[in-house]
């Protein structure tokens, strides 16, 4: 029972933390670029502002355009609920495993892509087409990275993967794990629309993907979509942090272990945020048609991860 309550609690925690992580990345990036930057909690103000504004909807848009933000938000939030954030094992493991999480995120992507087409503007169609291309090419990498993890853990259940790595610390440093981590990191950049795949900071650039899709959104709809995008980033951060470096995640439920889990989670998020900020400062955006090369490189990494996991079994 306590674990069930904790599952819900950590879901709420993730919802609350997500905008802050985006703000942290932005702030770190600004500091690295010698700018002062907005404080890390700026995204909360932005969400509040957006929720308070009226919505402008294109005259061409159908009901799908107005339903999509809810689907995107709820599917991303459901994926976030499945992630082992503070403690394992939780009863939520029975609802879905790592594959379910990936497909829930894909559900959100599909609806966003449909909504991009709905108003009939060239921008939306362009973003939608590119987003689905990137998503399709990222999919095999994700599956093989899952395969590599499942191979050493003997399960695709998130709780079990965490527990297994914790019981066998050497596994975390095995080549299979390291390669899968690298592969998933690249996929995370692509899926969450970060550099070098997409530029989250611009609205007017012919290379944009995510921002082009959501161009027609405003007010509460935009707020839901922005929040969902932040959640997606947090989901990937938490996966990278807790599946590959599981220490800190609580096995027993005591106040001390839970506090430690929270502290280690914040620490991991900060490290990953710094990594992304550094990367976004250092690398330039790739041309769209170079992105498949990046993704196929990550696919090869995942393939190597599976091979080495298999050999070292």
């Amino acid at each position: 029972m306590a674990r069930g309550a904790l599952a819900l609690l950590q879901g709420l925690l993730v919802l609350a933390l997500a905008p802050g992580v985006v703000g942290l990345v932005r702030w770190l990036k600004a500091r690295l670029q010698n700018r002062r930057g907005a404080p890390a909690w700026q995204p909360y103000f932005e969400l509040r502002k957006l929720f308070g504004k009226e919505v402008v909807v294109s005259e061409n848009a159908s009901w799908l355009f107005r339903a999509a933000p809810y689907v995107v938000f709820v599917s991303t939030a459901a994926a976030a609920l499945l992630v082992p954030v503070l403690a394992v094992p939780l009863p939520i493991d029975a609802v879905g495993d790592l594959l379910v999480l990936v497909y829930l995120l894909l559900l959100g992507t599909v609806f966003l892509a449909l909504a991009g087409l709905d108003p009939g503007s060239a921008f939306g169609g362009m973003g939608s087409s590119r987003e689905m291309t990137v998503a399709a090419l990222a999919e095999p990498t994700v599956a093989l990275a899952i395969f590599a993890l499942a191979l050493s853990a003997g399960s695709t259940n998130l709780g079990q993967i965490v527990a297994r790595t914790m019981s066998d610390p050497a596994a975390a440093l095995s080549p299979g794990h390291l390669l899968a981590f690298a592969a998933l990191f690249v996929v995370m950049l692509a899926e969450t629309g970060r550099m070098p795949v997409d530029n989250p900071a611009t609205h007017l650039e012919l290379t944009m993907i995510h921002e082009a899709m959501v161009l027609e959104y405003s007010g509460r709809y935009l707020a839901l979509i922005e929040w969902a995008a932040a959640l997606k980033l947090l989901v990937f951060f938490a996966l990278l942090g807790n599946l590959f470096v599981p220490w800190g995640v609580a096995m027993a439920l005591t106040p001390a272990t839970l506090f430690l889990a929270l502290a280690s989670l914040v620490g991991k998020l900060a490290v990953l945020a710094l990594a992304v900020a550094l990367l976004e400062t250092r690398v330039a955006k790739l041309r769209l048609f170079r992105v498949p090369e990046l993704l196929s490189a990550s696919f090869v990494l995942a393939l190597l991860a599976v091979t080495s996991s298999f050999l070292s079994r």
């Binding site: 402008v56 599917s75 029975a94 594959l99 709905d118 009939g120 169609g125 999919e139 095999p140």
Partner: protein
């Protein structure tokens, strides 16, 4: 003699289909004929499902032997076991909505095409498809199989005045007969010399055959049935023939008939031949992965909505074949639990594909009915004009893209889960095969999502790009009812996975290579696989998403500002947004076309006409691009040219002189006599 329930259901099924066919021919007037054909088909489908459900529920096979019919080949032998019953039920599930849809859809055919012929052939087609799953000796099977192919050929040829249809029919007829020839050879190799040709005799004989012959039989069966199922490289007829048929027949061909190809492979591999070597499974996984990728890659490039769906059928048959292959591979390694799981996943996906592909073809039929167009570049904006069709097509698209909590997601999850534990297997072949299969499966899933965002988005969203789409109208009630039935089916088969999957595993128990008892699936509120490999709960997931959506909607409604204003689409300051500025089917697929340019090898033609006085003034731009599928260019093109060449050469034999023909006859007779003498010595 008392009439027991299975026999009654079987006879009712026969009677209903025959009555439907007769009614379509006899009844006067277009409407009565259409209704009679549909009523017969729906009654027959229902009786078929009842028969199948009886066999599945009791586990007792139903058998009927009529020695007087087909007495040369051992009589008409029918027997329905678990495997057959599953496919019979699948035929029924696909047949009923398609027939219902046909009532409204074929109304527009009155006066143009023969509705009598169409209604009669529809019932014959359904009857033969149903009976193929019951056939229990070689002659019964082959006759029904051929009758099924011919009936579907006639249905394909409905719109016979169009040159495309004629070409499609020719491709179909040629490929299906190549398949039939191979199936016949496979049967002949299995038949005990001089003894009966009942499947029981074949089963007994298979154990005594040398491994080489069994391998040959297996490969012949895979190729022969693969040509019906649309496995690469035998799929070329499928994207031509399926779209050429009337849409409800397309739904039957793509949703149901291709599955009978899978049934044939399963009948041979699981039942008649018995457990084979591991490479049988690996071969099927390879063919399946190739079909899945080729199918979805070409589906993405299609501008024709129905051809896109047909290519996606190739993809889904590939996914099913991957599952079947994994099942056979595990069976030969004696890993019975994994084998049962993989085969159950394949059957589940087959059933799901029947539901969502039928739904999508009926939706496409509704679009064709409303606009007369299949070219997505000329559609768009239909979500406002055909709201019902759009909602149903959206459900089908989400299901086929494998998104939770619909049925396609559940079976794709199961397919993944049946491949993943393989990695623990000690056999050397398994790990590389399964790794590549997982990669192919995942890439297919991603591309399918892109493909169906395109199919739905370009057809139904944004602003119409042609006057026909502008003035489209919603489908009549029968068509809407058929689509709704299938859309609900997509949800039910997803949420009811906990009920469906154990039954599939149970019906497979006892076949060659599988344990007599089904694998222990742990069922609580969620589905946990043996050895704790993964768990997932479709009902909880569905419930969570629904409650979450309601909660978020309510919270936003209460907490956020409510204002909503309708304005023009933002166009960078440009005034006058026109439909020509929208993304079209071709442009949507452009990034993927570039990424996979090596596969597609498109030919592009760009002509720019400039003003004679200055090249800065462009007068017109013409762009043409074509993708000739790889197989057609390098495999079938030369093959067809070669065959046509040979055929032309045989013309020399046909002098027109009766004496010459009599001479040929004598020579042929003498040759046969000589051969038979030599054989007997």
């Amino acid at each position: 003699m008392t009439l027991d329930t299975p026999l009654a259901a079987c006879l009712a099924m026969l009677a209903a289909y025959l009555a439907g066919a007769a009614g379509a021919v006899i009844l006067p007037g277009s409407r009565a004929g259409r209704v009679a054909a549909a009523a017969g088909a729906i009654a027959g489908a229902t009786a078929g499902v009842v028969l199948a459900a009886g066999v599945l529920a009791t586990g007792h096979a139903f058998a009927l032997h009529v020695p007087a019919l087909l007495s040369l080949g051992g009589g008409l032998a029918l027997r329905l076991d678990g495997l057959g019953a599953f496919f019979l039920a699948l035929v029924g599930v696909g047949a009923a909505p398609a027939a219902l849809f046909g009532v409204g859809y074929t109304a527009a055919y009155a006066g143009r095409y023969s509705l009598r012929w169409l209604g009669a052939m529809l019932n014959v087609f359904l009857l033969t498809m149903s009976l193929v799953t019951l056939a229990d000796n070689v002659l019964t099977f082959v006759l029904l199989w051929e009758a099924m192919s011919l009936a579907s050929y006639f249905l394909v040829m409905t719109e016979h005045e169009q040159p495309d249809t004629v070409a499609a029919g020719a491709w179909y007829l040629a490929m299906t007969h190549v398949g039939l020839a191979l199936i016949l050879v496979a049967f002949v190799l299995l038949m005990p010399p001089g003894a009966g040709s009942a499947f029981a005799d074949l089963r007994a004989r298979a154990l005594a055959l040398s491994p080489a012959i069994r391998n040959v039989v297996f490969v012949l069966a895979v190729v022969g049935f693969g040509s019906k199922a649309g496995l690469v490289p035998l799929h070329v007829w499928l994207p031509r023939a399926h779209p050429a048929a009337p849409s409800h027949v397309s739904a039957l061909m793509s949703g149901v008939m291709v599955k009978l190809g899978v049934y044939g492979v399963l009948r041979f591999a699981l039942d008649l031949l018995g457990v084979g070597p591991a490479w049988w499974g690996a071969l099927l996984i390879g063919l399946g992965a190739a079909s899945a990728l080729v199918g979805i890659l070409y589906a993405l490039m299609e501008d024709d909505l129905k051809r896109l769906l047909a290519y996606s059928t190739v993809e889904n048959v590939g996914l099913i074949t991957i599952g079947v292959g994994a099942g056979l591979l595990f069976a030969s390694l004696r890993e019975e639990t994994s084998a049962a799981l993989a085969l159950a996943a394949a059957l589940y996906h087959a059933l799901n594909h029947t539901v969502f592909k039928s739904l999508l073809f009926l939706g496409a039929g509704s679009v064709v009915h409303a606009t007369g167009r299949r070219d997505m570049n000329r559609l768009g904006g239909l979500i406002r004009r055909l709201p019902w069709t759009a909602a149903c097509f959206l459900v089908g698209s989400l299901a086929i893209a494998g998104l939770p909590p619909l049925n396609g997601f559940v079976s794709e999850w199961l397919l993944f889960q049946s491949l993943l534990p393989a990695i623990g297997s000690p056999a050397p072949l398994v790990a590389p095969v399964m790794t590549l299969a997982v990669g192919a499966l995942a890439l297919t899933a991603g591309l399918a999502a892109a493909g169906f965002v395109k199919a739905f988005g370009i057809t139904f969203l944004a602003v119409p790009r042609s006057p026909e789409a502008e003035h489209a109208h919603e489908a009549p009630a029968t068509m809407r009812a058929a689509m709704t039935f299938l859309a609900v089916g997509c949800g039910v088969l997803g949420l009811a996975a906990l009920t469906v999957l154990p039954r599939l595993a149970a019906l497979l128990a006892g076949y060659a290579g599988l344990a007599a008892a089904p694998p222990a699936l742990t069922l609580g509120p969620s589905l946990a696989l043996p050895d704790g490999f993964g768990s997932m709960s479709p009902p909880l997931l569905g419930l969570g998403l629904a409650v979450g959506a309601a909660g978020v909607w309510l919270a936003v409604r209460l907490g956020a500002a409510r204002g909503l204003r309708v304005g023009a689409t933002w166009g960078c300051g440009r005034i006058g947004q026109t439909p020509r500025m929208e993304y079209t089917s071709t442009s949507y697929a452009e990034p993927l076309r570039r990424v996979f340019a090596e596969v597609y090898r498109p030919t592009e033609d760009l002509t720019i006409d400039v003003h004679p006085e200055s090249r800065y003034f462009v007068q017109s731009i013409a762009y043409r691009s074509e993708i000739v599928p790889w197989f057609e260019r390098y495999l079938y093109g030369p093959l067809v040219a070669r065959v046509t060449g040979w055929a032309a050469r045989t013309r020399a034999l046909q002098s027109g002189s009766v004496h010459a023909y009599l001479g040929y006859l004598v020579i042929a007779l003498l040759a046969l006599l000589a051969i038979s003498l030599a054989w007997n010595d």
